[in-house]
Amino acid sequence: MFDSLSDKLQRVFKNLRGEGKLTAENMDAALKEIRVALLEADVHFKVAKAFMEGVRAKAMGQEVLTSFSPAQQVVKIVKDELITLLGTHAARLRTANQPPTVMMIVGLQGSGKTTSTAKLARHLSKSGHRPMMVSVDVYRPAARHQLSVLAKDLSLPVHEGTPEEKTPLELARGARRDAEQTGRDLVLVDTAGRLHIDEQLMTELQELKANLNPTEILFVADAMTGQDAVKSAEEFHKRLGITGVILTKMDGDARGGAALSIRHITGQPLKFIGTGEKADALEAFHPDRVASRILGMGDVLSFIEKVEQAVDQKQAEVMQRKMLEDEFTLEDFRDQLKQLRKLGSLESLLGMMPQIGPLKELKSAKVDEKELTRVVAIIDSMTPKERDNHMLINGSRRRRIARGSGTSVQDVNNLLKQYGQARKMMKSMSGGLLGKKMGKMKLPFPNPFGG
């Protein structure tokens, strides 16, 4: 849909290698791209501006850690900052000391209040509560019927209302009475969708709040919302003091920048995300996942972190030097492969890779885990001399190695060919972007499964 941020940053940082510290100048281009990424994700422009200033101040003068390229470092700062802003822990729902607890579900038309109400009721009943639902949407045709149908599917009670209960407040009060009498500890009040500038309907919500004394007023927001998210959330919060946000339709491909805008403007936690039309498609909000999504960079950082953990720092440095100086032996090749195994299954690793530039082809790379074992066995069957200098390996040595490793001469030939290609690749890379970049990332392997 959009160029991923990683794509862009890679372009930006072509000209930014070997810088020791982050400065206003060397960060400028990167920050500009991040700003565009935020705006394309629908983060409100003022929020994006404030956010970028925060990042700039934080990043300025920081040493570029040896383990990251400046690009990755900036992205890491940005992501950390995003996570902090989005809230660092999953927020819980408060209940009243004196049951029944009342929770109100509010929001604009079509944001997903009724569906979310049913999902929430299911979630609460799974965690030991006995919720009752009531729709006080007396405006939209069949809105109350919609909640009843959903409730029936969940086998959860709905207060259908009596003929005397005509107003939203009467309905909600009726539901609370109903809950008290039937031993329900929670009442979820599904309110009508309304515009934040609709004076009459906003007053109606304020009245509901004043009379029902809810412990939670959850603002339901569509993940696809654009710049207007700030205005609606601000007004709802001003009028009602919302206590949390449910971000819906996250199963689409919207980047969900509205989450950041709403959080920034209201200061209230994002509590749940809606990820489908079924009743169980409600998940706790994970700031880190949404942060990655807003930035559009996959799980590039968790990948980097994983590599960092698995790779011996010093060894990696030696390896990097060797790669660049063309002293990369078969023994090194084997060590790399062994380290690679430590990271876990290759498939899962590839899944975490950003689909950036030269790594794009990796997506389609088919990895045979057994192949790696075979390659290691072949190298193990070589003499140290052979590993040091692969030119020594003639026909009879190949036959011996094949026998020793339980493979065929063809397999040995293949390996030597791959190794030759890897060396060639490294040589050509050592001058270019990828060499330095990969060096900084300490990717422990050149391309063991290439060819």
Binding site: L39, G226, Q227, G257
Partner: protein, 305 residues
């Protein structure tokens, strides 16, 4: 019934800080065109959900004229932006497709909660007011109470609704509705479909199937497929338009919920890329809160104070 322009103004009254008005604000008190002004303009456009790329494209064309000293006065800039937006939107205009032999079949598509059912109801009222006979088709068999919701609109507008039970195959409902439309010789069949995210490929192919079914009964149907787009939608709207155009063959847009503070600027990006006309705008929950989208009047009324 108040005049069209009055109603349009009313709808937009609430959006006093509308797109172009804000551009005017930006220009107020500015004597010359400088980088700050252009940046403010960029933010104004972005704030209206036009999108950072589209905003930059528009400003880039203006920046060039400024640099060549073809524009000196900030007031001229206003006119330029206005003309540019008008140009983009007017280029997409085209007459409604009407079936040679009735019924003309119009299908409503869109993501969940964009306002398809409400819009279908309003459209029924509008076509009826134009003297057309209308039939409604409740092809949203998925969402709880969607059928009932459309039936209420049917009663409000004295229009019959063809329906089956919830969970029925929407293509089967369309088949029924088309047969009925032909038998009853109605002018317009309005098909309300279930909201679906454009990322769900199975649901998108369901739309393709519905189209195929319609075409089998009435050649050329559906004659129009309208993407109902919530004006609060941000940049994802463009991808929605792309995907629905791919699967459902969208021929036009309806921009809903314009009575709020959202500007719906993403339609500029959509028009630019997909050349889709905007047919109507939704400005409220009443049956007559649906107005034809007329770029000129629309932008003019935004300019009026």
């Amino acid at each position: 019934m108040p005049s069209l322009l009055d109603r349009l103004k009313q709808g937009i009254q609430k959006t006093r800080t509308g797109l172009v008005t804000k551009v005017e604000d930006v220009l107020l008190g500015k004597k010359e065109i400088d980088a700050d002004l252009l940046e403010e303009l960029e933010y104004t456009l972005i704030g209206a959900d036009v999108g950072v790329r589209t905003a930059n494209d528009i400003l880039e064309s203006i920046r060039q004229r400024v640099e060549r000293h073809l524009v000196n006065d900030p007031a001229e800039l206003r006119q330029l932006i206005r003309e540019h937006l008008l140009g983009v939107l007017e280029a997409c205009e085209r007459p409604l497709a009407v079936a040679k032999d009735p019924p003309t079949v119009i299908m409503m598509v869109g993501v969940n909660g964009s306002g398809k059912t409400t819009t279908t109801g309003k459209l029924a009222a509008r076509f009826k007011a134009d003297g057309k006979s209308v039939l409604l088709c409740a092809a949203d068999t998925f969402r709880a109470a969607a059928i009932e919701q459309l039936e209420v609109w049917g009663q409000r507008t004295s229009t019959d609704t063809i329906r089956q039970a919830q969970g029925a195959d929407p293509s089967a409902v369309i088949f029924d509705a088309l047969q009925s439309s032909r038998a009853r010789k109605v002018d317009v069949l309005l098909v309300d479909t279930a909201g679906r995210l454009h990322t769900k490929s199975n649901l998108m192919s369901e739309l393709e199937k519905m189209r195929r079914t319609a075409a089998r009964v009435v050649p050329g149907a559906p004659h129009e497929v309208w993407l109902v787009l919530d004006a609060t939608t941000g940049q994802n709207g463009l991808e929605q338009a792309r995907k629905f155009t791919e699967s459902a063959g969208v021929t036009g847009l309806i921009l809903t919920k314009l009575d709020g503070t959202a500007k719906g600027g993403i339609v500029v990006a959509i028009s630019r890329e997909l050349n889709l006309p905007i047919r109507y705008i939704g400005v409220g929950e009443q049956a007559d809160d649906l107005l034809p989208f007329e770029p000129d009047k629309f932008i003019s009324s935004l300019f009026e104070t």
